[in-house]
């Protein structure tokens, strides 16, 4: 593709706008993953260590929710945040806040399901030890999450990947408003619809570059702290 070069120079020219859009994408998805982690990691760990009659069913449901279609999540969040919906008074619809809410909902099942598996695997070895130390459930969760801090990074990164790459939910609840809720993915979609495929691909590559920087940073931090406890 000869015009990809042009597209990149176009990106360069648009730099102010493009940077703002990239920064919004990053801000929204990082917030969603942070919020999601606070909820889903303890929850996933809890599900890994408790036993109760319906447990396999709950596990299957959490796993299944990894397949929540972003558009559906978008629609449901939309109906909740709509002025005529139950949370309409918050005035969040078509704002970055709404996008954070929608992406948090998408991130939670992925984080919870992956955390559950990773904790469950380690728990098989540590269960009796931790119970014999008379740790209560929350203490055991804290210890297991700490024990697995390096492994859980991958769950967080998977959730971040899902959040920053999805377009269905942010489009519905954010509205792709120029200069306000336009993210990298909605911009890519828009350029694709305009038939400007080189620009769309250039934006896509920029997005992947941003994701690479985030992942590279996470990897480096992980490697640095892991050094001590191989």
């Amino acid at each position: 593709m000869q015009s990809l070069g042009d597209a990149f120079s176009m990106l360069g020219a648009l730099d102010h706008d493009v940077m703002a859009i990239a920064w919004l994408s990053l801000r929204v998805s990082l917030s969603a993953v942070l919020l999601g982690s606070l909820v889903a990691i303890p929850l996933g760990a809890l599900l890994a260590i408790v036993t109760f009659p319906g447990r396999p069913l709950v596990v299957a449901v959490v796993n299944a929710f990894m397949g929540l279609p972003p558009v559906l999540v978008g629609l449901i969040v939309y109906l909740l945040l709509s002025r005529s919906g139950p949370l309409g008074a918050l005035g969040l619809l078509f704002s970055p806040g709404a996008m954070i809410v929608a992406q948090t909902v998408l991130a939670i099942p992925l984080l919870a399901a992956l955390t559950r598996q990773i904790v469950e695997d380690a728990h098989r070895e540590l269960d009796e030890q931790l119970r014999s130390l008379r740790l209560d459930v929350w203490q055991r969760i804290r210890v297991l999450v700490f024990h697995l801090r390096f492994s859980l990074v991958v769950a967080v990164l998977a959730a971040f990947g899902r959040a920053i790459s999805e377009v269905g939910a942010v489009l519905v609840v954010g509205g792709n408003i120029d200069g306000y809720t336009r993210t990298m993915t909605t911009a890519i979609s828009l350029e694709t619809q305009k038939g400007d495929l080189p620009l769309a691909i250039a934006l896509g590559i920029l997005l992947i570059a941003i994701v690479l920087v985030v992942n590279g940073t996470a990897s480096a931090m992980r490697a640095y702290t892991m050094r001590l406890y191989p």
Partner: protein, 252 residues
């Protein structure tokens, strides 16, 4: 202060709002946030009170919207026109200025035709043209007629990738970059005119609606300054939208 306008993807993608809004905001200080959606979805957003102003192009649906009390004071702002784009080689020999004849030829030769199939204003118009041409599309059979259920851009993308005919609004066509072998084959038929209307979401139903600011936007659009700005917008020297506020209704 800021208002939210629910509009169509074709208007947004043509770049018209990028041209108009800075002028409006410069004059009034009101910021406008445009949510570009399918016409059906745009009206639905208005119905729920999530936008202050709705700016679309499907007269029948707009009038229903107002009649049901969701909107007030529909005013006509501008029109543009539809064109049929198709492969330059024109295997169906559809080129000309008669939309109905063109469709009949495409159907007769069973050349691939891409329909948006998304119940948008453009899709509604397309269905009207088929009906007027005496072709029952539901019965057409064969795989030459493809409903893709997507916006204008994707329909053009697919037509360009598969050398098919497609009905497009001129604005989207002019700003569309991935034309491939496509060219405009049919244009200029008065029946191809496409009227845009704007209306304020009913503040009595939805108290959160910014009625004053929304009305200011509508007033500006139909003011001389707004109409002038619409008429000034061009891509490659071609005018995309023709202001006609206050003019008598354009026959469809």
């Amino acid at each position: 202060s800021s208002i939210t306008v629910a509009s169509t993807t074709s208007t947004e993608q043509s770049g018209l709002f990028g041209h108009l809004l800075p002028r409006f905001t410069g004059r009034t200080g009101i910021e406008v946030r445009v949510v570009a959606l399918g016409t059906g979805q745009a009206l639905d957003v208005g119905r729920r009170g999530d936008a202050d102003v709705v700016f679309v192009h499907d007269r029948a649906a707009e009038e229903k919207f107002v009649a049901e009390g969701h909107g007030v004071n529909r005013v006509e702002v501008m029109y543009n026109d539809f064109v049929i784009a198709g492969p330059k080689s024109d295997p169906a020999k559809a080129a000309g200025s008669d939309i109905l004849q063109a469709l009949q030829r495409i159907a007769a030769t069973e050349q691939p035709f891409i329909s948006r199939g998304d119940r948008s204003g453009t899709h509604a118009a397309e269905l009207r043209y088929w009906q007027a041409a005496g072709i029952d599309i539901a019965d057409a059979g064969g795989d030459w007629y493809r409903e893709i259920g997507q916006g204008m851009g994707p329909a053009l993308n697919m037509a360009s990738a598969s050398n098919a005919y497609v009905l497009s609004d001129r604005g989207t066509w002019l700003s569309f970059k991935n034309r491939g072998e496509l060219a405009i084959l049919v244009e200029g038929d008065r029946r191809l005119f496409n009227q845009y209307g704007v209306m304020l979401v009913n503040p009595e139903k939805h108290p959160d609606v910014q009625a004053t600011e929304g009305q200011a936007f509508i007033d500006w659009l139909v003011s001389d300054e707004g109409q002038q700005a619409i008429g000034d917008y061009r891509i490659d020297g071609q005018q995309l939208f023709f202001p006609n506020a206050g003019a008598t209704q354009i026959s469809q």
